[in-house]
Symmetry: C2
């Protein structure tokens, strides 16, 4: 292995500042809604001069884009497909659980997703890339389950199911925030979201695989 040069003090400080800005902005965006947060508010919350913030990020959109790319990286961690049915059910659950955790952590992105993605074409491309990859990963998981005899679904049904999984996962928090009040949203709502998404897949599973998925789903609401 090649030894990497040790970063100098300035590079380390810069990296630490960038991390602080992103963490602070994420917390503010999630709490107040991105549209209601200015770079001035971010600098004030971090006890940082506006000039120092500007040195790292020219405007709020750059911060939003950096956070969106971190969200993308979080969404990319998918398990390797397997042929074992019990493992495939666990993979499906794990992949969904991790995706919903990432959505929860970056929930401000989903609050005004349409506005955000119609004003910023680059972010729309990133979002569609995430959806494409998730649909492909979901399809290959379903194919594993089908070839192990644990799922009964036609290719058309798997395609429609994948789209429904993506729609419910993407918009569940929005729906819940209308049904309750946004301020009251908690990680419990996220758990109910996982239960809802698993319930989309359950009727296509057979016997043991279905019992296994049902048990994983019930954990979220008991």
């Amino acid at each position: 292995m090649k030894k990497r040069a040790a970063p100098d003090g300035n590079a380390l400080r810069t990296q630490r500042t960038v991390e602080r800005v992103l963490a602070g902005s994420l917390a503010l965006f999630n709490a107040e809604g991105e549209a209601n947060v200015t770079t001035g508010m971010i600098a004030a919350a971090l006890d940082m001069s506006p000039g120092n913030l500007y040195y790292h990020f020219r405007n709020k959109e750059q911060i939003v884009e950096a956070l969106f790319r971190r969200f993308e990286a979080r969404m990319d961690a998918d398990p390797v497909p397997t042929v074992d049915a019990a493992r495939a059910v666990e993979d499906l659950w794990l992949s969904l659980h991790l995706a919903l955790e990432a959505i929860w952590e970056y929930r401000f992105l989903f609050r005004n997703l349409d506005d955000l993605l119609s004003r910023n074409r680059r972010l729309r491309e990133v979002f569609n890339r995430i959806v494409d990859r998730k649909l492909a990963a979901f399809t290959s998981l379903c194919e594993s389950l089908a070839s192990a005899g644990a799922m009964r679904a036609t290719p058309d049904e798997i395609r429609a199911l994948g789209r429904n999984v993506l729609v419910v996962a993407t918009y569940w928090l929005n729906f819940q925030s209308i049904r309750r009040r946004r301020e009251d949203l908690s990680s419990e709502d996220l758990g109910l979201g996982a239960y809802q998404v698993l319930s989309l897949v359950a009727p296509y599973l057979r016997d043991d695989a279905r019992a296994h998925l049902d048990a994983l789903g019930r954990q979220y609401i008991e």
Copy 2:
């Protein structure tokens, strides 16, 4: 029956103006997005003086509220529950089809639903009333299907299914507008939405009822 007094000329003119304003506003809101339309633009599009518009609607929010109430009335037309399985499948399809047509006609409401309902508590109440009624109507349809032996689903499964139906119907156009570009949305996207929602219900149906629903769903994509 009591005979109603014939409306005088003024009342008729007022009613006609109100209808013109609502129809014109709906067209503009759908085309441009409600946030990008001012009362000045509405008056100009209708070749009406701002003062005349103001006489009928004090501000844009009053127009939005009036349109939301018309949407609510459209969503209220649900078929009476039946015990016949074939009829119940048709009722389910018809109810969904009418609901999606209304969503398409008033699609501006769904473009920034979260913003709209968080800035206007009355509209959030209306929306939740619609969702409550739709969930109740859907549940009683499913119960008809189950007692006719055409559906196999537990009460928990029916509840989860109803929520998923509502989420997919509500957010399908948003999802499609991100997958494509908003400008390109057409009533074909709505048809695909109907197909997606019917595919949520299909796996719970048995034999003839499932074949019937599958045939109704395929109409939308062929």
